[in-house]
């Protein structure tokens, strides 16, 4: 046994393991080095270092009563727990805990799809169900509902929603936590609670009215450490009859501002699914004159060079769900709306396909225009194809992306805000000495969350996978988060090694929000056993560990 939980004696740990075995069975408590290996973050920046976030043991319950029993034992011996669902939160820490030596509660065996209602359009699942599992369940029964999947889709709807994950279809469904509709939670004292209408015995509306009555604490369980979620409902999108896409390009740089305004209008009227922004000027990046203009944010010069090359400055791909006629009418309306505001805008019809798309149609890459849109995720079809981004490739035949990490800042959903962020991120790159991988002036926001943009800083970490190289990258990322916060940018999600840093960004009124959360945490979880440190919320029992990974 290589690691003990912090401040727990070997004897107490042995006793706790005995109780865990008694609760879940001998076969489902894991302590060997080999078994524990699979509970490490495969992409850890601290791999094999003394501070790597490795659990002391893992325990795999299959029933909610077993989860209750585990929590009660942990309280008895003051052992920190860390719950995972499918453990695929890669780029954000994978299955690894916030505190080295925690016991991982692996909920993968709780893998039942409890209900899918294709008339009222919801599903209820357990944490071990993956998006792929739920998709197959629906397909096998020929139910006419869609899931909204992240990419890749091997993760859990519950785990993904609880980490505020996102998808790619219609606005409401893309916010996975926002699209949840009630949950069952094992609280830190082992009691079971249900939120929303689930709190009313015999209610018919658990998945239809999530507020219930009085304060709704659901938000505490998203990126939180106030309980272990054992069931959760999700709203599902009815399967549309038809899907259509189209491309809009606008000639001048400043046209992007009107373009975003118009697309916001269409989005918020639920006329379009996720819009995919980009810049057709990428081919000019190799041109020295253009590159210099872009690095200087010289807008007139960029417009001049773009016009000389016959290229437009920005683009958006729109997608429409509905019937053949309504999607056509909505596309015609989108064109009319943009043409009214932006002289010279061009419109290219995309494809118009009955739903469900065939496998061939999903993988079709030729079309009326070169598309950036990954089609399976626009159709709610989960897959793992995107994992090539981390894998051995022809360009990197002997290596892989060991420093896969996700960091995205929330940026206002306007053209002006994007332009400001471009300049701010370029300046930050200069300050920290981490050059952007491309001119920031061409960067656009992603509209995963309907009401906000997310943007990365444009840096590229990695290249040096030595412990020293990873340490340097980590320090650089911390400086970037700090500089982002000085300019009003906060991240939406982070791996454990950076969660304290992101939590530090949210400092209004001397960290009033964090103090509130920690007051609640100490009241509800006095021993601080549930995921201490998650999202920077540290219970008193472990508060000395705040910032200890720096």
């Amino acid at each position: 046994m290589a690691i003990l939980p912090p401040n727990v004696s070997e004897g107490d740990f042995e006793s706790a393991l005995r109780e865990f075995r008694s609760a879940v069975g001998e076969d489902w408590v894991f302590t060997s080095d080999e078994d524990i290996h699979a509970y490490r973050d495969h992409f850890s920046y601290f791999k094999d270092q003394p501070n790597e976030l490795i659990p002391s043991a893992a325990v795999g319950p299959s029933e909610v009563e077993q989860v209750q029993s585990i929590v009660r034992t942990a309280n008895r011996y003051k052992i920190p727990l860390y719950a995972i669902s499918t453990g695929k939160n890669f780029a954000y820490g994978g299955p690894s805990p916030n505190v080295r030596g925690s016991v991982t509660v692996d909920l993968k065996r709780m893998n039942r799809v409890l209900e899918v209602d294709a008339s009222r359009n919801f599903a209820v699942v357990e944490p071990g169900v993956s998006y792929i599992d739920l998709y197959r369940y629906i397909q096998d029964r020929e139910l006419k509902v869609w899931i909204d999947t992240p990419d890749p889709g091997w993760g859990s709807p519950i785990g993904n929603a609880l980490d505020h994950g996102i998808g790619y279809t219609q606005g409401f469904y893309r916010d996975h936590f926002g699209a949840h509709c009630g949950m069952e939670v094992v609280l830190p004292d082992g009691e079971i609670m249900r939120t929303g209408m689930g709190a009313l015995p015999g209610s018919q509306n658990w998945q239809e009215y999530r507020h219930g009555y009085g304060p709704d604490p659901s938000g505490l369980f998203g990126q939180g450490n106030f309980g272990i979620v054992t069931k959760m409902g999700f709203r599902l999108m009815p399967q549309p009859e038809h899907w259509r896409n189209g491309l809009i390009t606008v000639p001048r740089r400043r046209d992007f501002i009107s373009l975003v305004d118009r697309v916001n209008y269409l989005t918020d009227l639920s006329i379009i699914g996720e819009p995919w922004y980009g810049s057709p000027l990428q081919p000019l990046v190799g041109n020295t004159e253009f590159r210099e203009a872009a690095l200087d944010f010289n807008e007139d010069e960029m417009d001049r060079l773009a016009a000389a090359a016959g290229l437009h400055s920005f683009q958006v791909e729109l997608q429409f769900y509905g019937s053949e006629r309504t999607t056509l009418a909505n596309w015609e309306y989108a064109k009319e709306l943009v043409a009214r505001e932006i002289p010279g805008a061009r419109f290219t019809d995309g494809e118009s396909l009955p739903v469900p798309l065939t496998r061939e149609q999903i993988h079709e890459t030729t079309g009326p225009y070169p598309t950036n849109m990954r089609r399976n995720i626009t159709q709610g079809v989960p897959g793992i194809g995107v994992w090539y981004q981390t894998s051995r490739t022809e360009q990197n035949p002997n290596g892989w992306n060991e420093t896969h990490i996700g960091l995205f800042s929330l940026v206002g959903r306007s053209g002006e805000a994007v332009f400001q962020a471009q300049k701010d991120f370029a300046e930050i790159s200069e300050i920290v000495g981490m050059p952007s991988a491309f001119p920031n002036a061409l960067q656009t926001g992603v509209n995963w969350y309907q009401f906000s943009f997310l943007m990365g800083n444009g840096f590229s970490v990695g290249g040096d996978n030595s412990p020293e190289g990873k340490k340097r990258s980590t320090e650089m990322l911390r400086r970037i988060l700090e500089e982002n916060a000085k300019r009003g940018y906060g991240d939406y999600r982070a791996p454990p090694m950076l969660q304290d840093d992101v939590a530090d960004q949210y400092s209004f009124n001397d960290f009033a929000l964090r103090r509130f959360n920690e007051t609640l945490k100490n009241a509800i979880d006095p021993n601080g056993i549930l995921s201490p440190g998650r999202a920077g919320v540290w219970p008193a029992a472990y508060s000395s560990l705040r910032g200890s990974l720096r």
Partner: protein
């Protein structure tokens, strides 16, 4: 830690490989069927023969093995006849490059034995 982990892994896998031999000889069709189902669930999404994303010809796991072996071995797992229980187990429990390790709650040791039984059959079919 890594030495003891590997040693422990292979000690157990030796025992399990005996189970695989039994499977191969006994042609336990139930094991092959279970292995097929588990393979489709846990391996095929990355190692299958479908096209990949963003215009790539192959799924990432298949493409990674194509690049690794350059034709010396099949890129598709289901065409590989050399994936014994111990080899499978080592890769699945340790992970390989960007493939993260599989936890025992995702794939039990018995299920790995079943997958090996399935691959023994699927590779024969591919060779025919």
């Amino acid at each position: 830690m890594s030495i003891s982990r590997v040693a422990a892994g292979f000690a157990l896998s030796t025992v399990l490989s005996m189970a695989a031999v039994t499977t191969a000889i006994g042609q336990d069709s139930a094991a092959v069927e279970r292995g097929n189902a588990k393979y489709q669930h846990s391996c095929e999404p990355c190692h299958g023969d479908g096209p990949g994303e963003d215009g790539r010809q192959m799924l990432p796991g298949t493409d990674a093995l194509r690049i690794k072996y350059r034709g010396a071995l099949p890129a598709l797992l289901k065409e590989r006849s050399d994936l014994t229980v111990e080899v499978l187990r080592a890769f699945l429990r340790q992970g390989s490059m960007s493939m993260p390790p599989f936890r025992p709650t995702e794939l039990t040791d018995d299920e790995i034995v079943d997958i090996a039984a399935y691959l023994a059959e699927s590779s024969k079919a591919a060779a025919r």
